[in-house]
């Protein structure tokens, strides 16, 4: 008996000790986790996919310099010289613009191409793993919907930066190269090649149409920093507009406006008192018209704002300034308030006399907030443009009236209506389309729309005059109509890593 007792006790001690030691010595990382719940993947979306508040919130903070919204002045100050080095590539549409920006050690988004793909990888990881996670099925479908919608968004941006416009004349979008479609997080040895423009659009449409019902049903509580059904509607409306599918573009704009038609009334926001800062408003966290508080912060183009003494090296073009019916000297009725509220201004001469807009910025409510994304104003403009295109085609006057109603409604929230009521605009014929396009430019400037809009308007000719040294005469750089440089070059860093990646001509 004694023997049996001692053996049992011995065994018990052994088992007990080993039980303890196992837990005690178990290696556990303090900061690494193996994602196992749906919520973990939601956090992964926040960390890897959504750009807001991340260390690299911007993607293309040079594209506005390629449009007709910006102009350049000569300044011999060394500060201006370094600024010219940073932006000369995009401003003069150089085929090696990514390399010149890199060489200038610019604090701008030189790695646009890789950046979008890093975020797409985040979407793919979430989509590949979501079905293996524990959790509520409503949350699961919400996460899936967000990942699909965001992947659609990133591919939409990529194909419009690095591929021909969907509606380009004389281009077969079924063969014209878009970007590589990577739809799985599994990496392998093969070198991906570029899918066609139509193929990428097809994928974007598929992702968005798959995401829409999921977000409608399960994404109701998503904050404006996440993708929602409103996000999907807006992007679908924008995509169909680019594809010139006017009724679909109008349909999705209406779908979204039925849910939220609010606009910020700029006249109710105090006139910015600090002389240089834009007004807080449409992208602030409580803005009723914000749909997606998406990306970019106020430090975009900051080197342009921190300008040297003397003439401003880059500023908003005269052409764009002249589009605004803004008269600041009449303080009782300043007219179109967007010219002041949506731009960062400064004095050109340090004598406090010549006050000019440097660049556009829809300032967020806090310094860390995002300044770009999606808002209902775009929906009004998308719907108006679709209606006008249909009116111009078949002369349906109801479409013309509907378009003018949308445009006037938007404009009435942008004019100084404190003392003077807004006067409705009434016009018809092709002039209405020009008016709508100008309105789109006024409203959405510096929100990464203009470049893409110019592309789908038939890629018009643009002139940029540029001078960088005192001995040099100003050079007139021309982006010709339909120029191949309306498609950005694939960066050398990407071509080097993939021999089967076709460069842009």
């Amino acid at each position: 008996m004694n023997k049996i007792y001692s053996i049992t006790i011995g065994l018990a001690i052994c088992l007990g000790l080993s039980g303890c030691t196992k837990h005690f010595l178990d290696e556990k990382s303090q900061d690494e986790v193996r994602p196992s719940t749906v919520n973990d993947l939601q956090e992964l979306l926040m960390g890897e996919v959504y750009p807001a508040g991340s260390t690299e919130p911007s993607f293309i903070a040079y594209v506005d310099l390629m449009t007709d919204d910006m102009t350049s002045n000569f300044n011999s100050d060394p500060g201006a010289q370094s600024l010219y080095k940073v932006y000369v590539g995009p401003f003069t549409w150089q085929p090696n613009m990514f390399e010149t920006m890199l060489a200038a050690q610019a604090q701008v988004d030189v790695d646009t191409y890789a950046h979008y793909y890093r975020r797409i990888m985040g979407c793919n990881v979430v989509l590949d793993n979501i079905d293996k996670m524990r959790g509520d099925s409503a949350d699961r479908e919400n996460v899936r919907g967000q990942a699909l919608a965001m992947r659609g968004y990133f591919y939409f941006m990529l194909v419009n930066l690095f591929g021909q416009p969907y509606n380009a004349k004389g281009v077969d979008i079924n063969t014209s190269p878009g970007v590589e479609l990577i739809l799985s997080s599994v990496v392998h040895d093969s070198y991906p090649t570029r899918a066609s423009v139509a193929g990428v659009y097809q994928q974007v449409e598929t992702d968005l149409l798959k995401a829409t019902p999921l977000l409608e049903q399960y994404g109701g509580n998503n904050s404006k920093f996440r993708a929602t059904d409103m996000f999907a509607y807006t992007l679908l409306s924008r995509m169909y507009l680019y594809m010139e599918k006017w009724d679909s573009a109008a349909l999705f704009a209406s779908k979204a406006l039925d849910r939220n038609s609010a606009l910020v009334n700029l006249a109710s926001i105090a006139f910015p008192d600090e002389y240089s800062i834009a007004a807080t408003g449409v992208y602030s966290i409580n803005s009723p018209e914000a749909i997606w508080l998406g990306y970019a912060d106020q430090y975009e183009y900051k080197q342009i704002n921190l300008r040297p003494y003397g003439p401003v090296p880059f500023c908003v073009s005269q052409d764009l300034q002249s589009k605004y019916d803004y008269h600041p000297s009449t303080s009782s009725d300043r007219g179109d308030l967007r010219m002041r509220y949506f731009y960062t201004w400064d004095f050109e001469d340090y004598n406090w006399t010549i006050f000019i807009p440097l660049n556009g910025c829809k300032l967020a409510s806090s310094n860390s907030g995002v300044i770009k994304g999606m808002r209902t104003a775009e929906l009004y403009l998308n719907r108006a443009e679709s209606n006008i295109q249909q009116y111009l085609k078949d002369g349906d006057d109801a479409k013309r009236v509907a378009a003018l109603t949308d445009l006037n409604y938007l404009r009435s929230h942008r004019y100084d209506t404190r003392n003077t009521p807004y006067i409705n605009v009434d016009t018809s014929g092709p002039g209405l389309l020009d008016f709508c396009r100008d309105e789109r430019r006024r409203e959405l400037s510096f929100e990464d729309h203009r470049w893409f809009d110019l592309r789908r308007y038939g890629m018009p000719e643009i002139h940029h005059t540029f001078q960088s040294s005192a001995s040099q005469t100003p050079v007139d750089f021309v982006l010709h109509q339909g120029d191949k440089r309306y498609v950005l070059p694939i960066p050398l860093s990407a071509l080097e890593r993939d021999p089967s990646l076709a460069p842009n001509p």
């Binding site: 900061d31 690494e32 986790v33 193996r34 994602p35 956090e43 992964l44 926040m46 960390g47 890897e48 959504y50 508040g53 991340s54 080095k85 000369v88 590539g89 150089q94 085929p95 090696n96 390399e99 010149t100 060489a103 191409y113 890789a114 793909y117 890093r118 797409i120 990888m121 985040g122 793919n124 990881v125 793993n129 970007v179 590589e180 990577i182 997080s185 990496v187 040895d189 070198y191 991906p192 904050s223 920093f225 508080l293 806090s366 860390s368 995002v370 540029f466 960088s468 040294s469 040099q472 050398l492 860093s493 990407a494 071509l495 080097e496 890593r497 993939d498 021999p499 990646l501 460069p503």
Partner: protein
């Protein structure tokens, strides 16, 4: 064995080992990491970052090691030979394969390589002459280590690595290096010219710099050894030590060492041979040293740049003067025989010592007295010519007295 007397010692050693290594940083599961600040200040939401993707098919790294040793002693150990050899082979080595940008991550680990390390060490020593008055000892040791990486994964696409011997290419020994083929000087301005193939001749140049560079040899020598010898004649002894390397090539120092291919600064030291540079048209027939560059206006970036030459890669230009630093006109044979030390000493015979004196000796020695190198160095100190500091020559005389 006992019946013979010419082999006095014979030892043989051998060992073999097998080892496996797990790649600890990767696993078959997705690993996420908490960022430094778990809550995003802007969105107010919790965040996770991806640490590593799931890699389901990674295998262990396997290492096999063989060691062999052999000691010989002849004629009552008057001659001794010792050989050591090792052979270490690592299979399924985990290497990071660079990925196309569109995969969204920089590289992935693959069991893609086989690394072979091997080497031998041989030492010989013997007493060639042993008489009452004269003893002559000679010893030699030589060793060689090689490691080669056998993989289909391209190791580098950067020409600077190829010029530094860091590019591993199948069929070429480790430490092979490549340089730009020099094509003389431009008769109009004295700029260096190179035989750079066109894009069609070198279609894969972006991945493989050897397509537009020329094989220049190996940086490592074929043979290197240390030799020491000592001769004693009565109370005098003479000792000397040599090192030698045979085979192998080197690049001379960078003649144009300014960043961005800029002009040599007024403060920088230029070598004597720079005086012999190209100055006027016609000089290209007698010299290979390019003239002083002048900056050219580059309309693309609105800058004044040093002259550049396009590589057969889209949009890739290199400074011509930097390429000259890495051209075959700067490659020299690196074989040498260096005498490290010679010393002559005289020991005062004991019978001449008086009183408390136990030992008195007088030594005169010189270190680094001479070196024999290839004539490519044009009389320059080989250390300086390859970018190092000169080894000084030191004379010393020593009087040693012990009580």
């Amino acid at each position: 064995m006992a019946s013979q007397n010419w082999v006095s010692e014979l030892n043989l050693r051998a060992s073999y080992g097998w080892q496996g290594n797990v790649a600890e940083n990767f696993g078959p599961d997705l690993i996420a990491q908490l960022p430094a600040s778990a809550v995003n200040n802007t969105t107010g939401e919790f965040e996770l970052k991806i640490k590593s993707l799931p890699y389901a098919d990674l295998r262990w790294e396997k290492t096999k090691t063989l060691n062999l040793g052999l000691d010989f002693g002849f004629a009552k150990n008057r001659f001794i030979m010792s050989v050591e050899y090792y052979h270490k082979r690592t299979e399924d080595m985990i290497i990071y394969k660079p990925l196309p940008v569109s995969y969204g991550i920089d590289n992935m680990p693959v069991n893609g390589g086989t690394m072979l390390n091997q080497g031998y060490e041989l030492s010989l020593s013997g007493t060639l002459v042993r008489t009452k008055d004269v003893v002559w000892n000679l010893s030699l040791n030589t060793s060689r280590n090689t490691n080669s990486l056998n993989t289909d994964v391209a190791t580098t696409s950067v020409w600077q690595d190829a010029a530094a011997g860091k590019l591993y290419k199948k069929g070429y020994a480790v430490s092979s290096f490549w340089v730009f083929p020099f094509a003389g000087l431009d008769p109009t301005n004295g700029y260096p010219l190179f035989h750079i193939p066109t894009k069609d001749e070198a279609p894969n140049a972006a991945q493989d710099p050897t397509q537009y560079m020329k094989y220049a040899g190996r940086l490592e020598p074929d043979f290197q050894a240390g030799i020491t010898t000592s001769i004693r004649y009565k109370w005098f002894s003479l000792m000397s030590a040599f090192t030698t390397e045979l085979g192998g090539k080197k690049l001379l120092y960078k003649m144009f060492n300014q960043p961005n291919g800029a002009l040599p600064s007024a403060y920088s030291n230029m070598p004597k041979e720079f005086a012999n540079r190209w100055k006027n048209p016609g000089d290209e027939k007698r010299t290979n040293i390019p003239g002083i560059p002048s900056l050219v206006y580059n309309p693309a970036d609105n800058n004044y740049d040093a002259p550049t030459i396009q590589l057969p890669i889209a949009l890739t230009y290199e400074y011509a003067y930097d390429m000259y630093n890495y051209s075959d006109s700067r490659v020299v044979g690196a074989s040498f025989l260096r005498c490290n030390n010679i010393s002559l000493s005289y020991n005062v015979p004991e019978k001449m010592l008086r009183g408390a004196l136990r030992n008195v000796s007088l030594t005169a020695s010189v270190s680094n007295p001479f070196v024999i190198v290839s004539k490519d160095f044009k009389g320059m100190d080989p250390e300086v010519a390859t970018g190092g500091q000169p080894i000084p020559r030191v004379y010393s005389a020593i009087l040693n007295v012990s009580f």
